[in-house]
Structure formats: C-alpha cells, structure tokens
C-alpha cells in the first residue's frame, strides 16, 4: 500500500519505488517457468534419447548402425533359446523412410503447388473460402485414418491394378503408404506456399501484366521464381513431417526391412521400427529396445535439421519482401 501522504513532502521522492509485491514476483517466476518448459521438453527429449542411445552404442558399434545394410533387431531373450545374432544396420530403414517420403513429396509437391497457385492467383474469393478450409481438412484428419484407408483401399487397388497389368506388387508397397502420406501433406505445402505466393509484392505482378504478359505467364515467369525460396522452405517442412509420420507407415508399409528403391516393394521405416520395437517387450537393457531410441534420436536430428533450414529460408524470404 502506498503511503500517499509521504509522497508530497518536499524533498522526498514522490515516486519512490514501492516494494513490488511478492505476488508480482511470483507471477513472473511462474511465467518464466512456463516459457522454460518448452526448453525443458527439448532438453528432456535430447537427454532421454541420447542417454539410451549411448547405451545402445555400447552394445552395437555406431558404424554398424549407420552403415549396416541388414536390419533384424532380434536377440534371444532366454539363455535356452538360441536366437539370431541380431543385426542393427539402419540403412534399409533410412532408405525405406526416404523412399516413402520421396513418393509422398512426389504427390504433394505438384498437387500442393498447383493448388496454392490456383488459390492465390486465380480463385475467386468465394472459391477460395470454400476450397481452402476443405484442403486444410486433409491435414486435420488423423493419420490413423489415412493408414486405415491406405491399407484397406489404396494398397489393394494398387495391387489389383498391378496384377491386371501383369506384374506383382506387394500389398504393403511403399507406393500405397506414400500416396496416403502425400495427400496428407498437400495442405502443408499448399497453405505455406499460398502464404509465400501472396507475399510476393503486387508490384512485380503489375510490372509483368503491364508489359502484356498473361496472368499465367506472370505466375510462371515472375511470381513463382520470386517465391522459390519460400516454396522450398515449405517443401522442406512437408518433407520433415512426412519423415516423422508414423501411423500411415505402421499400418500400410509393413515391417520388411528391404533395401530397395522399388516403390512396388514393401519397405519399412524408422518410425515403424520404433513402434514395433517398443510395443512388444520392454526390457531396458537389450539392444533391441535401446535401438528404438537410437532411431528416435536419428529421426529427431533429421527433422530438426530440416526444420531449422526451412524456417531460416522462409524467414529470410519474408524479410526480403517486408
């Protein structure tokens, strides 16, 4: 409570600092704590992953993990059963992940970009107000639904199409998972690219149109080239989310750690293996369980790098036209 009478006595500082309330300090502490949670979570993730990963690399050499081409993470659990020796070469998982993500981006990039261009440049505001939320719904549908649809509808469709064309396609082909995933990330590409295209200054469009370029020429030759960095950023973000996607691949891609780039074959991914390794037994000293954390760390690092680059690019792009 301020001592009002005192602040009018000549010579005394009328604006003297009140001992600011403990409550205020407490509030600040709480707020700072809240903000720090974000950091703590990151540290928690990194620590828990690194800790278990180190234990994993005590049992399996890091080079075997990074460069080995055979993945068979089975070790016997009892002395009596002679198990397999267990192989922890992550290369097939990584190629599998990349293959599926690549297929996904192959689908999402043209669809997303074309949608974004149409929405940003050609669509009437009415079309836009209908199409944009509909497109965004694609991203709002849980991935378990895509997984179900991919396994139940897309995969058999591809298989039957292949069969009628006379060649054999695995029912858990990378293609089926990739297609579902591609559709899922379309809105990511389209809404980010839409933003980016919108932030290309109108003056460039005016310049081009004023010279007698058609709208399409303007978009193709001026707007898109100017938006390239931002679009690249959005594609990277989409790729990163495709790499980290789990349920679709768990349900539609299968477990076969094939080292192949053939989209019609079954492959497995990093995320699938994490799920498989950890939904069964839970012994925390076997290389099998620990390998999931090594994979998790790998995933975390890859997506982190992709994000950082993407955000840098996008922010840089935004500043350029601010």
């Amino acid at each position: 409570m301020s001592d009002i009478s005192s602040k009018f006595a000549v010579g005394v500082n009328p604006f003297a600092k009140k001992s600011s309330g403990i409550a205020d300090k407490l509030i600040m502490v709480v707020l700072i704590a809240c903000a720090s949670v974000a950091i703590l979570v990151t540290i928690g993730i990194v620590m828990s992953l690194i800790f278990e990963t180190i234990r994993f690399f005590e049992q399996v050499p890091i080079t075997d993990f990074l460069f080995g081409t055979h993945w068979s993470p089975q070790t016997a659990i009892t002395a009596e059963v002679v198990g397999s020796s267990g192989a922890f070469g992550a290369v097939p998982l990584i190629t599998g992940t990349l293959l599926i993500s690549f297929i996904a981006m192959l689908i999402a990039t043209p669809l997303g970009l074309a949608s974004a261009v149409y929405l940003a440049e050609f669509a009437s505001s009415r079309t836009r107000s209908i199409a944009k939320p509909l497109l965004e719904m694609l991203a709002g549908i849980p991935s378990v639904v895509y997984g179900f649809f991919a396994a139940l509808t897309i995969a058999p469709f591809i298989r039957n199409t292949g069969a009628s064309a006379g060649f054999e396609i695995s029912s858990e082909s990378a293609l089926a998972a990739g297609i579902a995933m591609g559709i899922m990330v379309v809105p990511l590409v389209s809404s980010l690219s839409d933003d980016v295209i919108n932030s290309v200054p109108q003056s460039l469009r005016d310049a081009s149109l004023g010279m007698g370029a058609t709208h399409a020429e303007t978009v193709r030759k001026v707007v898109l080239p100017a938006a390239i960095p931002g679009i690249a950023g959005s594609l990277l973000l989409a790729t990163s989310s495709a790499i980290g996607e789990t349920m679709i691949v768990v349900m539609a891609a299968g477990l076969a750690a094939n080292l192949t780039l053939n989209p019609f074959e079954a492959v497995t991914t990093v995320t699938v293996q994490i799920v498989t390794l950890l939904t069964g037994d839970q012994e925390f000293d076997s290389a099998k369980t620990l390998s999931a954390f090594a994979l998790g760390l790998f995933l975390f690092v890859i997506t982190l790098i992709l994000n950082m680059i993407a955000l840098k690019i996008v922010n840089h792009f935004r500043e350029q036209y601010d």
Binding site: A76, I77, T78, A79, V82, S84, S85, G254, A256, G280
Partner: protein, 333 residues
Amino acid sequence: AIAMSTSAASARDEIRIVGSSTVFPFSTTVAERFGKETDFPTPVIESTGTGGGLKLFCAGIGEEHPDITNASARIKQSQVDDCASNGIKDIVEVKIGYDGIVIANSRDSAPLEVTLQDVFLALAKDVPAGEDGKTQPNPYMMWSDIRPELPKTKIEVLGPPPTSGTRAAFVEIAMEGGCKSFSWIKDLKGSDKSAYKTLCHSIREDGAFIEAGENDNLIVQKLQAAPTQFGIFGFSFLDQNSDVLQGALVDGVAPEFEDIASGDYPVSRSLFFYVKKDHVGVIPGMEEFLAAFSSEDAWGEEGYLTDKGLIPMGDEERASVAKTVADLAPLSM
C-alpha cells in the same frame, strides 16, 4: 488429487496380464467374460510376447508389475532364476491346452506337404553336409533344392522372433524333431549337448527366414499378399483365417483340430500362463479369474475357448491342472 508415485497410489484393482501373443486371444476372451459375469473389473491384457512378458513379470512384486504372464512355451530355468532374484519365489504354472504350430500359405497356391526333416533343412543355419559329423551353412535356396517333389519356389518363411514362445516351441519341436532324424545328430545329443543344441536350434539368418514380429495378424496379411511365402504361427490363427490360408501337411498330417488334440499332428505345443502367487489376495479377483479360466465352461471339450482355436487337454490332465490352480501349488522345475 493425482498421486504422482505409484508406490503411494492405492492398490490397483484390476488384474494386469502380459505375455504371449498366442495366448492373448484366449486370455482376452476369458478376461472379457470374467469382466461381464463377475463384479470384478475386466483384466487388462497387453500382448508382449512370451519372453517380454516373463521379463516384465519377473521384474518384481508390487502392483506396478503384472500379475500374470501368458506363455506359449514352458518357462525356462533362467527365467525362473531371474524371477527368484527379484523376490518372486512362488509362481503357479497353469497349462491351459495345446496349440499346433502350423506352416501355412495363401489359399491361392498349392498346399505344401513336408516332413520335419524338410523343415529343418529349409530353415536351419547349418545343415548336415554329406557325410556324418560334417555340417555346412544352409545351401538350399529353393524348396525343390531339398527334395525335387517340393515346389520350385524360393524358400521364404515368415516366422516369429526369438522372444516369442511360438519360436521357442517351433525350434524345440519342429526343428529339433527334423534335426534328430539324422541319426548321427541324435547321437550327438548324448556326447555334446551344446553342439547338438546349437545345430538343431539355430535358424538361418540369410533372409530365407524372415522374422516378422510378434503380431501374427500381420503375418496373415502378408501371406495373403505373397502367395509363395509361408508363415509359422499358432493353429488358432489358421483357424480364424481358414478362408484365406491353408496349413501345410507335416509328416502327412494336416493341422486339424482333432489331429492336434489327438497328438497326430507332430508340431503341437502346450500353452501356459504363470501366476505370481504373492499377488493372489492382494489384487482383487485373482482367485476368481483363475477359477474362471480353469472352468469346464472355458477350457473344456465344449468350452468357449475351443471356438477361439484352443485345443483342450484331456479330461484327466484338465482335472489335475485345475487342482494345481485351486491349491495354488507353486511351480518347481
């Protein structure tokens, strides 16, 4: 308020079961009925594989540890020791019936007829090489390499991982059975037991045998997709999927309910679950659940578990196991 530490939390009131994916369907069926027909909560069951289940089971006494673990192969001495070292001295073994292990493929291709020896030769890491006492790494790539009568397709068998009870049983019965059919190997058993074991129990790792995880449903789906592949799993899964899969005849016997029950089908194993005696009386409903599982209604000749593919024990055996259950007689190896 939410108690932050489990040790301080009030006693768990539902039974927690882990373990074999083969026993999972039986266990869940009993649990579901148990939940419906009694006032106890439905037990919570997680499918973790026999090995993983025992690992969790043996981790200690207390409500954060499971009460029961399902096993598709009998508990091993090492596991009993592991349990004992964590203070779990009294384990009640409950055998619930039999399950055949089948080698199945899609109905889209022809059924297979094999002998146990064929199975061993197809899947072993090392196989006898010509003369007695010599072995070589498994050279057979096609089934027809083993015997010309077998199909001319690549050997590709999806099977359970080493943590699985099905794997343990398969190795012990089918592989060892085929292995023993070579007389010199049979003799080896007497002279060098560990060499015998290594030879008979090691499964090839060159890609012909594909470890397919604990989830047998996935194998079923895969086989549908790839008609030339075979899968190894419990009879109940074949039974549930008989519209799409067919079982191979082993030594001339098809995996049929009656033939497995009668023991004519060579690859059949017992299914178990193990109970932590210290939890009986602490976790409510344990005795009642055990009673429900060992009731005629469940595991009897006409019991509902037979609908799920369980092959019941004979009358006497059932009676004797039921008595063990009633007495909670601890296991002694």
